[in-house]
Homo-oligomer: 245 residues x 2
């Protein structure tokens, strides 16, 4: 059996997220699996690095699948992109060792959250950013972000109701970068709980708007209470940028 | 009467072009007029710098209208963007002298045509570029483009069937710029005939693919025959970038 790794980008606007659903074929995993299954004339399941929610985009999602096939990687690559919808693209394809697993072998992930921060909206960025018209205090936001760096129980910044598994994660980096009217918040960490990036962004925005104090971040980490954190920022601003192994 | 000038950007994907139609409200002019008419409680017609075709985008379309109103420019700006669909945005609003006319006073226009030139498509640029997977000879394309600079009868590079008005135009600049996988062809000129930018792009692409000789450009200028030129490149790659007065 060959173990094939895919580097995938997708515009998540039209989809119900990464993970295949029983009652809908509007998932990215489902679309890719149906093209690959057609390609090799047997049902194929792919393993993603992790889920992305409805409306979330990716520039560097990773998935792998095992297959018995003589087809060259280039022919596979061409076939898959030819039959995928135009808003899902396989950027790279490679053959990995048998033990490579897209989910279990993840070392860290990079997410970018885009905020269009100008009172005049953008016709072209509207589907790839969250429009925040008010002025933001970026220094306060970065100060708050720095409190999140390191190893913490992030359950207060997540949609996890009852944790069966550990909710401790390590964030290596949260950088706030301004590029023209676009504010980019870049996250690198060993893993992110469900909605964790979007809830952190929502909290940082409330701090930038001076509706929340910087010190609230430490309270949320200590008290582990979701309701103390900010709103979940909308999906369309979020990009899974890269997965590191 | 006040003379109000608008600088407008739009994602043309959903629209039947700039110009208002009797049998459809899916035009950019129609959308803007209906918001402004509602704002001042009387029917308002706006004058654009010129039409853009179905599917063509704009980052710097200009239009003006005259109105009797005490409303401040800032209030107008906020009202209009609030009620416009998200894919049409007024970037700037200003008050001009009574004699200012968006169409008659145009000195020159800048168009940009985007070509995604890599065999792997882009999920994010697909609606804002034309995907050409083959390698292109950019030197031949620029050589051909240079033959078009200056004052010529461009009817052979247009969809104009029978010319009642002059089809002579002056092109000041055609630059071919590579930014990553995106090839940008930038046009500046005193005016462009119907489909002229897209037919020039289609011809330059055939030259870049070595399906047409550079010298064919001179033949088209001399013989003025549309069928000697290349295909009309698709609308979604074209942006009206700026209008100069």
């Amino acid at each position: 059996m060959r173990n094939i790794k895919l580097l995938i980008e997708y515009d998540g606007s039209r989809y119900k997220g990464w993970q295949r659903l029983k009652d809908s074929d509007q998932t990215i995993q489902g679309k890719i699996e149906s093209v690959i299954s057609e390609m090799v004339s047997r049902p194929i399941e792919i393993v993603g690095s992790g889920r992305t929610d409805a409306g979330v985009h990716a520039k560097g999602q990773v998935a792998n699948f095992t297959v018995k096939s003589d087809m060259s990687l280039t022919d596979m690559h061409k076939y898959i992109n030819h039959y995928l919808p135009q808003d899902i693209v396989v950027r790279e394809i490679s053959e990995e060792a048998e033990r490579f697993h897209s989910q279990y072998n993840v070392k860290s992930k990079k997410y970018v959250y885009n905020i269009w921060n100008h009172w005049i909206p953008s016709a072209f960025e509207r589907k790839y950013s969250y429009h925040v018209p008010e002025k933001l205090d970026l220094n306060l936001m970065q100060e708050a972000a720095n409190l999140l760096i390191g190893k913490h129980d992030f359950i207060g910044f997540s949609s996890v109701k009852k944790a069966n598994k550990s909710t401790v994660r390590t964030i290596e980096e949260i950088s706030i970068v301004k590029e023209g009217n676009m504010l980019k918040i870049i996250f690198v960490g060993d893993g992110f709980l469900h909605n964790m990036v979007r809830i952190i962004v929502g909290s940082l925005l409330e701090i930038g708007l001076k509706e929340m104090k910087v010190s609230q971040i430490n309270k949320i980490l200590q008290n582990k209470t979701r309701s103390d954190a900010g709103k979940t920022a909308p999906a369309q601003g979020l990009f899974l940028e890269a997965v590191y192994y």
